[in-house]
């Protein structure tokens, strides 16, 4: 599951941010500038950052001005992963001509995981483990932990036949005859999540066909695996020999 989390890091994020302006500006002017920062922006990562400090393009999907007092602006920002909020505040200040910096920040969403849904605190985890270790009850722990499949909920999906699962786990491509059903959002060259009929995540792959083509075809490669999550041995080996995967 650690491997699929890498993919989640690269999905979109949402923040609540307090920006402090060094001099007040009219609210209308602030709104105009925030509008300018919506869409594709150029951003140079800050001095203290974990990436190469080259100017790069980042997509800001939405900036909502929630409150404004003249000194502080409360913002909700929906953006691409790797966008620096501290830098965004600084740059907004530059364009406004008065200067600004980030005062407080909270991330409220990473990919599909929103703070409003299934958010747990450290002590919830501790309590769940105590319950298991002292009372032998799994109930709290099963509430605190979600099946990892939740982390791919926003990715187009394909359901794989039992007989083809183990071959994908061993790195084979998913061929058309190995498919039970496919979401109509599957597009050629985009990422798809491969699931078993029980809903278990096998792995992520790159679609070689659109959903429509999969339905109309009798054979051919439908998905090339990129990251396999499932361990070997859960499903049976059913292919006959090398080069004849997925029957």
């Amino acid at each position: 599951m650690t491997r699929v989390v890498g993919n989640i890091i690269h999905s979109s994020k949402e923040y609540i941010c307090v920006m402090q302006l060094h001099s007040p500006v009219p609210e209308e002017r602030l709104r105009e500038v925030l509008e300018e920062f919506t869409g594709v922006i150029y951003q140079r990562p800050p001095l203290r950052s974990s990436v190469k400090r080259a100017l790069r393009k980042k997509r800001i999907n939405e900036i909502e001005l929630l409150e404004y007092s003249g000194k502080y602006a409360l913002l909700r920002i929906d953006c691409e992963a790797g966008t620096y909020m501290r830098k965004l505040c600084w740059d907004v200040g530059l364009v406004l001509g008065v200067g600004a910096h980030m005062r407080e920040l909270r991330r409220i969403r990473t990919g599909p995981f929103h703070e409003d849904k299934n958010l747990v605190r450290m002590h919830d985890v501790a309590m769940a483990l105590i319950r298991l270790r002292h009372e032998g009850k799994e109930d709290l722990l099963r509430k605190v932990i979600l099946p990892g499949e939740y982390s791919v909920c926003h990715i187009p999906k394909v359901v794989v036949r039992d007989s083809a699962v183990e071959s994908i786990v061993h790195g084979a491509s998913l061929a058309v005859p190995g498919i039970v059903m496919v979401q109509d959002t599957v597009k050629k060259d985009s990422t798809v999540a491969m699931l078993t009929g029980k809903g278990e995540l096998i792995g992520l792959g790159l679609a070689e066909m659109d959903a429509e083509t999969i339905i109309q075809s009798e054979k051919g490669i439908a998905v090339k695996p990129k990251r396999v999550i499932m361990e070997p041995g859960i499903y049976p080996r059913m292919w006959r020999r090398q080069g004849q995967d997925n029957q």
């Binding site: 039992d162 058309v176 059903m181 109509d184 029980k198 995540l201």
Partner: protein, 90 residues
Amino acid sequence: MDIDLTQKGRDFINTINEFCGYKANWLIKIDEPTSPEWGWLPYERPLEKYIEYGVINLDKPPGPTSHEVVAWIKKMFNIKRAGHGGTLEP
């Protein structure tokens, strides 16, 4: 083969779709049921597997870094492998 199990599997997949408001139609290729002989419905994995294939949407307290929090979680669970979905700042 198990029709009821297959339905439960599809219900689970629809549950995760709804979790993030993902809307799409299913196109059926072959209506083949899944077998109870192997694998598990994700919520019915034995605890060890449930943890191994699980995620926690954790409210990180301000102060400790994400890496520190991951290290605590690993220690609490006595596991080697765990990751996190992102940091605010390095």
